[in-house]
């Protein structure tokens, strides 16, 4: 076997050991359960869903999912109390941003879990674009 190939295999195998340790003990290890939900799955939850709109205020003012509460990182402290007024322990929080590739819904969902300690916080796959597509 050529030297380069042997060395490649050694490195590839060696990386498995710390990777397993990271998966077991790293404080910021990812969960094996995805927090993304499809529109169909969220729709099946019916009235128990509390929609959270993580887009900028101007986008929220233009249009949003009926009943959604605005919460973005620019005005976090101002908007959070309004969201909590609508929340109770039976509700599932589904955060959305503008599209499939936007990141803000994940950041808002993470802060709701870690800073506000809300359980059952999910991210809508496809975001507002998915909702709009379904309406048309």
């Amino acid at each position: 076997m050529p030297l380069a190939l042997r060395q490649m295999l050694a490195i590839l195998l060696l990386a498995v050991i710390p990777a397993v340790a990271t998966g077991l003990w790293h404080p910021r290890r990812p969960s094996w359960q995805s927090d993304e939900v499809t529109l169909a799955a969220a729709g099946a939850w019916g009235q128990s869903v509390l929609w959270v709109d993580a887009r900028p205020d101007s986008d929220f003012a233009r249009a949003h999912i009926p009943g959604a509460q605005p919460l973005n990182e620019d005005y976090w402290d101002d908007l959070l109390p309004g969201l909590l007024d609508h929340w109770d322990a039976t509700r599932k929080v589904v955060v959305y941003c503008s599209s499939l590739s936007c990141q803000t819904s994940r950041d808002v969902a993470r802060r709701l879990r870690e800073e506000v300690n809300l359980p059952n916080v999910f991210v809508l796959e496809g975001g507002w674009e998915a909702w709009e597509r379904q309406q048309h």
Binding site: A4, V20, P30
Partner: protein
């Protein structure tokens, strides 16, 4: 002189890989999300890669710096750059506008500048691989 130049370049790329791997290791959960955003792997695949890839980068970086398993590390590093080039290059045509996740979560760089840097580094790695071919042993 050429040998020294090779060593300096390989060490710099090694440091870059070491830094990239360490930044990803700070928050593997966020890196899994970055991988998922490419919409190539399902969540489980993204988690597995988020746990494995940073360590592969750290090991390759260390191997390039300390010249242990050097040739193997060069090949893996070049392969990773080529893989990233294909994956990230495909995002814009697929209508995605995402962070590359190259140096951990939240680093914003432009699409074309990211691709340009990647192509440049890949070209350097190919040059290092080609120039590392040792001459055949002379038989007496």
């Amino acid at each position: 002189m050429t040998k020294t130049r090779h060593r300096i370049v390989a060490t710099l790329i090694g440091l870059l890989f070491l830094y990239a791997g360490c930044m990803k290791l700070l928050d593997p959960a966020a890196f899994a999300v970055d991988i998922l955003n490419y919409r190539i792997l399902p969540w489980t695949g993204a988690v597995l890669l988020a746990l494995y890839l940073p360590w592969l980068e750290v090991l390759c970086g260390a191997a390039l710096i300390f010249r242990r398993a050097y040739r193997g590390a060069l090949h893996i590093t070049a392969f990773l750059f080529a893989l990233f080039l294909a994956a990230y290059g495909s995002t814009r045509p697929r209508g995605l506008d995402i962070d590359c996740g190259c140096f951990g979560h939240g680093m914003h760089r432009g699409y074309w500048s990211t691709l340009a840097v990647d192509v440049l580094l890949l070209a350097i790695l190919v040059w290092l691989i080609k120039s590392d071919v040792r001459p055949p042993v002379q038989k007496l």
